[in-house]
Structure formats: C-alpha cells, structure tokens
C-alpha cells in the first residue's frame, strides 16, 4: 500500500515517472469527460432554461365600455371556425383562444364562446349543424351597404343577435379572417414589413369587435389615394378598431361620399388638384364641399415630402400653418430629451387647451406621444394646440437652427364653421411617425390611445378601446430613455476609469518620488 502511495506521489511530482505520459493521460481523460458531457447535452437537450411565459391576461379597460351592455343583458357570441383543440394547438390561434377565454371569464354574462368546424359545419358542443354561410355577407343597418367576408378555419366571428321569440330583429356580426398571410389569425397580431410578428393585440381586437357588433351604426373613414399616400397598415387597423369601415377614396374620380364620417389624408407625396375656375370640379373643391357638409379630416404630412402648396393652403384655411423656410420645412430637434441619438425622435406632450385636455382626459394617455421628424406649426383663428414639444427643442431647416422659441406646437386641431350649421373639423400633424407600427406597438408611449382620443373625443366617434394591452415580442426596448439621460449615464460610467487613472497616477508618482 505504501509502495503504491509512494509511486503515486512520485508520479505526481514527476521525478521518477514520465510526466509527459501523465499529462497526456490527464488531458485525454478531460477530453473524454467533455465529449461525454457535450454529446449528452446536445443529444438530450440537457440545458437549464428559463422559459418566458407570455402574459395574456386582459386589462380592466373593457369594464367601462361594456358596463351598459352587461346591464342591458346583451350577449355577444364569439365563434371560432375550428374546434377548441385545433385552435389551442394552432401556433397563433392559441393566443387568440386564451384571450377569448379571458374575456369569457371576466364578462361571463356578455361573452359566449362557440366552436364550429368550418369544414363539417358542425358545432362542437351540441354536435348540431351550424350554417356559417350566413356570415359571408353583411348588410350594415346604418348605411345599407353590403360587405363580404371570407371564412376559413382560422376565422373568428363576433355576433350580436336579438330575436323577439319569433324572428330575428337584430343581427350584427363581424368576421375576422386572415386574408393577408397563410399563417392564420394575423389580424390579431401586428406584423412588420418583413411579415415578422412584433406584437399580439388580442385584447384590443376583441374589445373593439365586441363593441362594434353592439353598435348599430358605423361611420366610414375614407383614405385618400392617388398622391403617393403611405398610410400604415397600423392606421387602417386603428381606424377599424375605432369602429370605422375603411375605404379608399380617389378624389379625382369621385366626391366624398355621403356616408363619410372621416377623410384621412396620410402622408401624400404629390399635391392635390386645384383650379382658379370655380366651376371646375377639382380634388380641393370636393374636399371643400365636404367641409361645407361639416366633415372631419385627419391629415398627416411628411416634412421631407415635396412642396404641397394646395394641401397646405387647404389646411391653413383652418388656421394651421406649416413652418417653412427658404431651406425647406423646419423640423424639430431635441438633443437632450430625444430618444434617438440624432435628436429627431421626440416625446410630445399634451398642450394646454380644452380640446387637448378633453383628449387626455378621455384616453388617460399621460405617457406622451412619440413622434419622429415633425415640423412645428403656427396657429390662428379657431385652431388649438394638441401636442407640444419640450422647452429644450429647437427647429432646424437645412441643418441650421431657424427657431429656438420652444415649446413648438407639433399637432393641432381646428373647427371651421360653415353655412350648414355643423362645423368641419380637422386634425393636423406634420409627421409620418404617429401611426408607424413601432410607434403604436409600445409600452412606453401612448400613440395608440392618443389616436383613439382624436377619433373618440374630437371627431365624436364614441367610446374607444382605450388602455388595452398588447403583448410585445421585442420586450427589450429602452423606450423611455432620453438621449440626455444616456449621455449623463455614459459620462458617469466613464468617470470611474478616469478616477482610477488619476488615483493610480498620483500613487505611482508619489511612490517614485519617495
């Protein structure tokens, strides 16, 4: 025994045994252990991994605007066009099912879930035949128009039906079908330009669809085309969730229809037509005709678009004028409170004034509105400021500061009285970013609720689905960090090595001189 011990000790100390051999044996053993560990973990996936569960719980936002419907004993059916098991196993449908169950649990008297197989046309619970074809067309009781819906196994139908015991006296329904992707349930999600899901908006879609079928009349929002308009998909979605039918309007061919509740002019690149001859019907004369009828306008323009003198003249007739210089339109920059290094992405806050305060009160959107590359506007007449910049902002044009009299008005609204008695209303924002997908899908700012407040409060379109929460897929954005704070933190962080350098230099010099 002592012999073995002596040999082992000797081996380790390398005096009488070949240490190179021992080294090779040890390294081989270590490599072998590593191969085993690597193979086992790779083959069997033996990792410790913290899986993040998405929080699909719904907010209390619906409590207020569903209260009346619940009190009146109304019931809305949410019909999935697949059996429950299939929806649960669907990659994107499972979220929608979870939201539906959360709604049914929170509002059991209002929400009733049904599952129907779109192929066999059988309802899951009763096993009875269920006719889905009736939902393929819908005649709106308000405007009398007929709308067509596509139905497939990933469709979700929201239905409100009233019968007097003998016949159906009211039948409002809306079909939500993914017609843009092959994945299914896409309308419940926000997708970026590459088709990647950026957020899940189930609560917002459910709340707005339930609210939609409970209402009998719905306005139509007409989005102008023919001027290179670049309306975001998210703007269409918000208009839809706000309760509008959304249609396109080519003013070169047609006037603003009688059923128009809103005309949206979103970031035109080319100007509108105008004629000095009042007898000639032009795009502007058609808009002016709508003004006479007390219409509503939601106008956004890109500060970097070409000159739009006709449109700007139309907007200025409401008392709202874009700030321009010889070097082009001015753009607001805020080096300290911006949230991008270039200083052009700012957080705008509600201005003082009755219209702005009413919007803020309705939406509770106190987190500010994120805007990028926005021009300041000047106001006159009935125009009221809605959003303003901070006091640290400046206005630049052609790279030069042209105005430092902040705060600047960044969004405004105005009423134009007319002979008809009903004033026309206009909301104007000289920025393309308000309705951009990454601006509305955010936890840090209130763009979506702000837009809803413009429709709900200023255009008097009724209750809006304020405060619904989205599940963001990129949860690691630093949304509220301003560039001023970023620079301050960087200075603090870099001060540490500077202090160590100074202390070290002093210590070493003193030691050398001692």
């Amino acid at each position: 025994m002592s012999n073995i011990k002596e040999k082992f000790t000797s081996l380790l100390s390398g005096r009488s045994f070949p240490s190179a051999l021992l080294t090779v044996i040890l390294i081989a053993a270590v490599v072998f252990v590593n191969i085993i560990a690597y193979t086992v973990t790779t083959a069997f996936g033996l990792y410790l991994y913290e899986k993040e569960e998405d929080d699909l719980s719904i907010s209390s936002a619906g409590d207020g605007y569903f209260a009346d419907a619940i009190a009146e004993g109304k019931e809305v059916s949410v019909i999935f066009c697949s059996y429950e098991k299939e929806v649960r196993e669907h990659a994107t449908g499972s979220f929608v099912l979870e939201t539906a169950k959360n709604f049914a649990a929170r509002y059991p008297d209002l929400i009733n879930l049904k599952f129907v197989n779109a192929v066999t046309k059988l309802e899951e619970e009763s096993g009875e035949p269920f006719d889905l074809s009736v939902y393929k067309t819908y005649r709106d009781p308000g405007n009398g128009e007929e709308y067509k819906f596509a139905i497939n196994p990933t469709s979700v139908i929201f239905e409100y039906k009233v019968d007097d015991g003998e016949a159906i006296v009211k039948h409002n329904y809306r079909v939500v079908t993914d017609t843009s992707t092959q994945v299914g349930y896409a309308p419940f999600y926000t997708l970026d330009s590459t088709g990647t899901i950026t957020s899940y908006n189930g609560e917002e879609i459910f709340a707005s669809m339930v609210r939609w079928v409970l209402n009998d009349s719905h306005s139509t929002a007409y989005v102008t085309v023919g001027h290179g308009e670049t309306a975001d998909v998210s703007l269409y979605n918000i208009l839809s969730c706000a309760g509008y039918y959304v249609k396109q309007l080519n003013l070169k061919r047609e006037s603003v229809p009688e059923d128009a509740g809103l005309v949206v002019i979103s970031n035109p690149r080319n100007d509108f037509e105008r004629s000095s001859d009042p007898s000639v019907v032009t795009e502007i004369s058609r808009l002016e005709n709508y003004v006479e009828r007390g219409g509503s306008f939601f106008v956004t323009v890109d500060p970097y678009s070409g000159a739009l003198p006709v449109l700007e003249s139309f907007v200025s007739s409401f008392g709202i004028t874009l700030a321009s210089t010889d070097a082009g339109r001015a753009v607001v920059k805020d080096s300290s409170l911006a949230i991008t290094p270039d200083g052009f992405t700012l957080v705008a806050n509600h201005a003082e004034g009755s219209a702005s305060e009413a919007m803020l009160s309705a939406s509770g959107a106190e987190r500010g509105v994120i805007l990028r590359e926005v021009s300041p506007v000047t106001l006159s007449g009935n125009a009221q400021p809605i959003l303003v910049s901070s006091r640290s902002a400046i206005a630049q044009a052609g790279g030069e500061t042209v105005n430092n009299a902040a705060p600047f008005v960044l969004a405004a609204c105005s009423e134009l009285p007319n002979d008809g008695g009903k004033s026309a209303r206009l909301f104007f924002l000289p920025s393309v970013y308000l309705t951009a997908e990454d601006a509305v899908v955010t936890e840090g700012y209130s763009n979506k609720d702000f837009i809803y407040s413009v429709f709900g409060e200023y255009f008097e379109c009724g209750d809006m689905p304020y405060g619904t929460r989205s599940v963001l897929y990129d949860t690691q954005k630093l949304e509220n960090l301003t560039m001023g704070e970023a620079r301050l933190y960087t200075v603090l962080i870099m001060a540490v090595p500077a202090v160590i350098l100074a202390v070290g230099a002093v210590i070493l010099i003193r030691r050398k001189n001692r």
């Binding site: 100390s13 390398g14 005096r15 240490s19 080294t23 040890l26 390294i27 270590v30 252990v33 590593n34 191969i35 560990a37 690597y38 086992v40 973990t41 790779t42 033996l46 990792y47 410790l48 991994y49 913290e50 993040e52 949230i339 991008t340 290094p341 949860t475 690691q476 954005k477 630093l478 949304e479 509220n480 960090l481 560039m483 970023a486 933190y489 960087t490 962080i493 870099m494 540490v496 090595p497 160590i500 350098l501 202390v503 070290g504 230099a505 210590i507 070493l508 030691r511």
Partner: protein, 235 residues
C-alpha cells in the same frame, strides 16, 4: 497560496499593471455598454457580453503577461521555487490574484445594467447567465496567459503569445461556420470552440457541458503551468 495571492495583488497596485488593466477594462466595458444599450435603446445584454468576451482576450494578457515572466527576468523565480510553497499553490495563488482582478471588474461593470431597469425589461436570468459565462471564459484566458507567461521571460512575447492562442481558440468557432452543417469536423470544432460554447449562455441556456468545458480548459492550462515549473524546479 494566500501569501502568493496577497503578494501578487500588492504587486498589481505597486506597479502600473493593475491600474492599467482596470482603467482599460472599465473604459472599454463602459464604451461597449453605452454603445450596445444606452445609444442602441436596447436592454439586450447579449451583445455587450459577446463583445466583452472577445475584448477580454486582448485585455487579460495585460494582467497575466508579467506573472511568471517578470519573476524569471528579475531572478525572483528561484526564490519562489525554493520557498516552502508548492508549485501548485504558487500557480493557483497567481491565478486567483489575476482572476480576482478580472472578476471584480466584470461584476462592477455588470452593475451598469441596473441603470436600465427603470427604462426597460432587463432579463435577470439572461444577465446572470452571461456574467457566469464571461467569468468562466475569463478563467480559461487567464490560465492560458499564465501558461504562456511561464514559458518566456519576455513580457511582450507572453502577451502576444497569449492573445494569439486566445484568438486561435475564438477563430475555431468562425471556421466551423464555413463548413457544411452535416460535416463531422464542424461538430468537433463547435464542441471545442470557446466562442460557440459562450453562445449557449447568451441564448439564455445554462449549459452544464459548457461549464465543464471551461473549467476543464482552465484546469488543463493551470496543470500545464504547474508541469512547466515542476520540470524547472527539479531540473
């Protein structure tokens, strides 16, 4: 071992090496943090730690280059080898001193992420995983640095040699990317790549096999360092 550790720590701050390492590491980490989070508007910790892992391969040789080269050059190595301290204790003492400097720097710079909490979702588990991974990789790099330092009395040669070996280890991961995914050599290169092993941590996985890999890599180089001095002591 404790005596060697204390002596080594003292030597870092009686000379310029300790200050130089701290200043460079904290400045680089601060710049990387500002660039990858504050000015990128992201609470994602992965890019920061990936870059710090690569940069540590260049910064850590500052700490280790003089560990044994200096002793050899100033002839204090003979004192150490004849002192009543085992070679293993001497090597581990020096390793722990360098590692303490590195670990303190890493843990201090990790505190920067506390600044982000009011502004975004800093994933604590991912942050901890990345810190552990960087500390493990640091142990390997320091062990390599000590081994190379034990082979030469030229500090510059020690630093350059260490950086070369570390870059070669990192390059293995990039070379594997050039190979077809089904090729057996790619599997082998992935298995021995310091870079790829780090990737499992930055993806949010706590990979026990990678922990074993890093610890065994560090142990092998420390063992080789011990063997170098053992041979020198008895020859």
């Amino acid at each position: 071992m404790v005596a060697i550790f204390k002596r080594e720590m003292r030597s870092y701050f009686t000379g310029a090496i300790g200050y130089a390492f701290l200043v460079l590491f904290l400045a680089v980490a601060g710049a990387v943090f500002a660039g990858t989070t504050l000015f990128s508007m992201s609470a994602n910790v992965t890019t920061h730690f990936m870059l710090m892992m690569v940069l540590s391969g260049v910064l850590l040789p500052i700490l280790t280059m003089k560990s044994f080269s200096e002793e050899r050059k100033t002839r204090t190595e003979q004192l150490l080898l004849t002192s009543p301290v085992s070679v293993t204790s001497m090597v581990i003492g020096k390793f722990l001193a360098a590692y303490a400097m590195f670990a303190a720097s890493v843990l201090f710079t990790s505190l920067y992420f506390l600044l982000l909490i009011p502004y975004g979702n800093v994933k604590a588990a991912l942050l901890i995983g990345n810190i552990v991974a960087l500390l493990l990789v640091g142990a390997v790099f320091i062990a390599i640095g000590l081994f190379v330092s034990s082979l030469t009395e030229n500090q510059l040669a020690a630093a350059v040699g260490t950086i070369a070996i570390i870059l070669a280890l990192l390059a293995v991961g990039f070379i594997s990317l050039l190979l077809p995914s089904t090729y057996w050599l790619r599997y082998v290169l992935d298995a021995i790549s310091v870079f790829n092993r780090f990737g499992t941590f930055t993806s949010g996985y706590f990979d026990v096999a990678s922990v074993i890999y890093y610890l065994s890599c560090a142990a092998i180089f420390l063992y080789l360092t011990v063997r170098v001095f053992d041979r020198r002591r008895y020859n």
